[in-house]
């Protein structure tokens, strides 16, 4: 017996639209099975995972804090993936953005005015973009595989941050704990509604970024260029578009947005440069991008869903004593089901039985 994937002549428009919801449903179902096998009450666990984090206002603020970096990174990645460039290193670009933006408050703590924050955000974008430009350069110059180089640079960035936070940037008055000085208020991203919760402006910036990129992809020649070069590089060359310039554009945009997310996280949620600043946002954002169907607006909704798995994981750890690694399992399952649903929308499965070919007569 063998299994064949056969391309469907037409894709169902209905199922293309509900595919992310279907994937979500399957993930919940799989969660039910996992919790049962772990010997935890499955319904209660699912409640703690998916409903409880939404029950109070301050928790919604927490959700927005987690969703902001996911959305911002995923918006850039969706453009990058549409153009057929596979940036897997957003985590590293996020970290470098955080470092670059922190240079201002750490090296010039006295520079405190209305320009401090905008400059930090700009530096964050540039830092991430510079980090993203490295795999782009390697790809266009030496024809290296950007998936490998961008991923490997994540480890470089993580260790570089670790070295900075424990070494040169360590707060001299910090009792030898790793981490920089605490940022002055002029270098902190303000909270949106301080009386209700701690969500900062990052979520607003993320939504604005999504809207701008959506307009670009839908209405501008540049968006057309992304689609053409991503769909058919040869046709792109025929159109007069440069595929190597597109590699740089895609990596600089996605790296830059990841870097912006990085500095937003550092100056908003954390308030200092620490040895770790991300619980894997750069990787989870890959799932967000696909769950949002590589559409910047879709990434907003998908970002909140993934943020929920982070909060739910923390909640389940506290109430049920389940390892927070379960959150990672959830994220993996979600990606698996999204890709699975998409594959089955485009292909159907055929089982071919029997020994191929013997005379029947």
């Amino acid at each position: 017996m063998r299994i064949e994937l056969i391309k469907r002549p037409q894709q169902s428009a209905l199922f293309s639209a509900v595919s992310p919801l279907l994937a979500l449903g399957l993930t919940v179902l799989a969660g039910f099975v996992i919790f049962s096998l772990l010997g935890k009450p499955p319904l209660e666990a699912l409640y703690i995972y998916f409903v409880e984090p939404l029950s109070e206002t301050w928790q919604l603020h927490e959700l927005a804090i987690k969703a902001a970096p996911l959305i911002m990174i995923a918006v850039g990645l969706s453009v990058c993936y549409r153009s057929n460039n596979w940036n897997i290193g957003a985590e590293g670009q996020f970290i470098l953005g955080g470092i670059a933006g922190s240079l201002i408050p750490i090296l010039m703590p006295g520079f405190q005015n209305f320009l401090t924050l905008p400059l930090m955000l700009l530096f964050g974008f540039i830092g991430g973009a510079a980090m993203g430009a490295v795999p782009a350069l390697l790809k266009t110059r030496f024809n290296t595989n950007e998936i490998l180089t961008s991923l490997m640079l994540v480890y470089v960035a993580q260790l570089f941050l670790d070295w900075l936070a424990r070494g040169v940037f360590r707060d001299p008055n910090g009792n030898n704990f790793p981490g920089s000085i605490r940022f002055p208020s002029a270098a902190r991203l303000p909270e949106i509604i301080p009386s209700q919760g701690s969500a900062h402006l990052g979520i607003v910036l993320a939504v604005i970024a999504a809207a701008i990129v959506w307009v670009m992809m839908k209405y501008l020649l540049r968006g057309f260029e992304v689609k053409v070069l991503g769909g058919s590089p040869r046709a792109g060359r025929f159109a007069g578009f440069s595929s190597s310039r597109m590699v740089f554009f895609a990596f600089i945009l996605s790296g830059g947005l990841a870097g912006l997310a990085g500095i937003c996280e550092v100056s908003g949620a954390i308030g200092q440069l620490r040895e770790t600043i991300s619980p894997g946002y750069g990787f989870a954002a890959i799932i967000v991008a696909f769950l949002g169907r590589l559409n910047p607006l879709g990434a907003i909704a998908a970002g909140f869903v993934l943020a929920l798995t982070y909060l739910g994981g923390e909640g389940a750890q506290m109430s049920l004593g389940i390892s927070d690694k379960v959150a990672r399992v959830y994220q993996g399952l979600l990606l698996f089901f999204v890709l699975g649903c998409d594959t089955l929308i485009h292909y159907r499965i055929r089982l071919v039985f029997g020994d191929p070919v013997k005379a029947q007569g």
Partner: protein, 524 residues
């Protein structure tokens, strides 16, 4: 018919049907091949010929119907199974590994474990026997298309098949090479082997084949004896209506100033298996159509890329279009000079398959029509793009099922009409087209040829690269031949004959690498 009716047919299909999605590529095909006959399978592109033989060779599973082999119903699940039964096939697109030698390629399909040296020896003997000389130790990547086909045929013969299926074998050969192959086929027939010969070249079929089955839209529309038919009666059967031939106006018109000038164009090979261009010179004047003939894979694709600016030249004066040196400009820069390009591949080169027609309009027009189609910040003016698209669809009679369908949803002929119309709509001073009617139905092909002639008569220079000699003779004012990356002097149409062009296609010009057979004929 008569030769097929005596005794048990070697192979017979009963109601053979293959459904792809909702399309019946083959619909209830009944066909029988007698031992020792050459049977032609005729039909236009897309008539279902290739699908049918793929089912016979075990590449595709039939959806319905059955195949009888020597009177016994069989289910052929894989090419290996077909070979074991005694069916051999030579594909239209060769299935050879370029980085292996001929003998190694042959060894790959043989099932028993024979040492390569022994296979090489057998292959050499067999090839000499059948008049298809072949060096088994040569690397396939270095061989010409004709030589590669010999490997496929020898590989097929080594398995001692009773039935040999040949899928458009002459489409890649010069007329002289094709003649040699016909001799081989006659000899195989004399040995009692059957041959299923797929082609849309009617003169070949008339000359070679004993019986013929004609397919149209996946159905059998007739069985006949080709020798008793005329070329036009066969063509009518294939197309289903009288084929319109494009007539050129009587007198040769006066040509204006040169609009395409190519001076000593050289291009090193971009990949190990692509053809370098060597010292190409060419001039096309206003009002003139120059055709470039040649066997596939002799540098036509590389030449198109160099002229279109997808690959640029080091110096501006190597290529001059519409009176301006532009060798250093990219494709957009050349389009702005008033040049239109249509590449060979429609899907994936001339158009993005997944994008709607209107967005494909923007593909080649976003720079030349930036004023009307783009607004500030590169905002696309969809209304202007759509109206241009509508204009082209009306002008070229593009038939489609939806208002603005994806490019991939159109038939080859209709998409090609759209892509040609996309450029004609700008009234280009220079038009360069690669394989304008490749895989296009007869009606659309006539429409496209007419449009190209009309463009030239209105004072533009037109350069057509094509493997279809009939087409070039029909529309060109002169024909040049590309062989091994070099271009011959253009031959004015009044002096051009199939023999002359055929010899040039084989590389007969002095100083060129030539096939041995052709050299002798040229010298004689």
């Amino acid at each position: 018919m008569q030769s097929g009716s005596e005794g048990t047919p070697l192979l017979k299909t009963v109601g053979l049907t293959k459904v792809f999605g909702e399309v019946k590529a083959c619909n209830g095909i009944d066909l029988s091949i007698a031992p020792g006959e050459i049977h032609a399978l005729l039909g236009e592109n897309g008539a279902g010929k290739s699908t049918l033989v793929k089912m016979m060779f075990g590449v595709l599973d039939p959806s319905e119907g059955e195949i009888l082999w020597k009177g016994q119903p069989v289910r052929i699940g894989s090419p290996g199974e077909a070979r074991r039964l005694g069916i051999g096939m030579v594909f239209q697109h060769f299935s050879l590994f370029e980085a292996l030698t001929a003998a190694e390629n042959i060894a790959l399909v043989l099932e028993e474990k024979t040492p390569i040296s022994k296979i090489a020896e057998t292959a050499r003997k067999l090839s000499v026997d059948y008049g298809l000389p072949l060096d088994p130790n040569s690397m396939v990547g270095d061989l010409s298309v004709g030589e590669r086909q010999r490997i496929e045929i020898i590989r097929c013969l080594l398995q001692k098949p009773d039935l040999i299926i040949l899928d458009e074998p002459t489409s890649v050969l010069t007329p002289q090479e094709a003649n040699k192959m016909f001799e081989t086929l006659e000899r195989l027939k004399a040995e009692g082997k059957s041959i299923l010969y797929i082609s849309h070249r009617l003169d070949e079929v008339k000359r070679l084949c004993d019986t013929a089955t004609v397919l149209r839209h996946g159905k059998v529309v007739g069985h006949c004896v080709p020798r008793e038919e005329t070329a036009s009666s066969l063509a009518n059967m294939m197309v289903g209506s009288d084929v319109e031939t494009v007539k050129r106006e009587g007198a040769v018109p006066e040509f204006g100033k040169p609009l395409i000038e190519i001076r000593n164009l050289e291009r090193p090979p971009a990949t190990p298996f692509s053809i370098p261009l060597r010292g190409i010179d060419l001039t096309v004047r206003a009002g003139e159509i120059v055709g470039i003939a040649g066997v596939a894979g002799n540098g036509q694709g590389e030449f198109f890329e160099a002229v279109s600016g997808e690959a640029t030249q080091k110096r501006a004066d190597i290529v001059s279009l519409n009176g301006q040196d532009c060798g250093d400009k990219g494709i957009s820069g050349r389009r702005i000079l008033g040049v239109g390009f249509v590449p060979e591949e429609r899907l994936g080169h001339g158009a993005v398959p997944s994008l709607p027609l209107s967005e494909n309009m923007l593909l080649s027009r976003h720079r030349t029509d930036a004023k009307s189609m783009l607004g500030p910040f590169g905002f696309v003016r969809n209304a202007a793009v759509r109206s241009a698209s509508k204009r082209v669809i009306g002008e070229m009679d593009v038939r489609k099922t939806a208002e603005d369908p994806e490019a991939a949803a159109l038939s080859g002929g209709n998409l090609q009409k759209y892509l040609i119309g996309r450029e004609l709509d700008r009234q280009p001073a220079v038009m360069i087209v690669d394989q304008p009617t490749w895989g296009v139905d007869a009606g659309a092909a006539a429409r496209i040829r007419k449009a190209l002639i009309a463009l030239a008569r209105s004072g533009s220079a037109v350069l057509v690269i094509s493997q279809d000699l009939d087409e070039l003779f029909e529309i060109s004012d002169s024909i040049a031949v590309m062989h091994d990356g070099r271009l011959s002097e253009p031959v004015p149409i009044a002096e051009a004959t199939y023999e002359k062009i055929g010899l040039l296609m084989g590389g007969a010009e002095p100083g060129h690498m030539a096939f041995e057979g052709v050299k002798e004929e040229a010298g004689a």
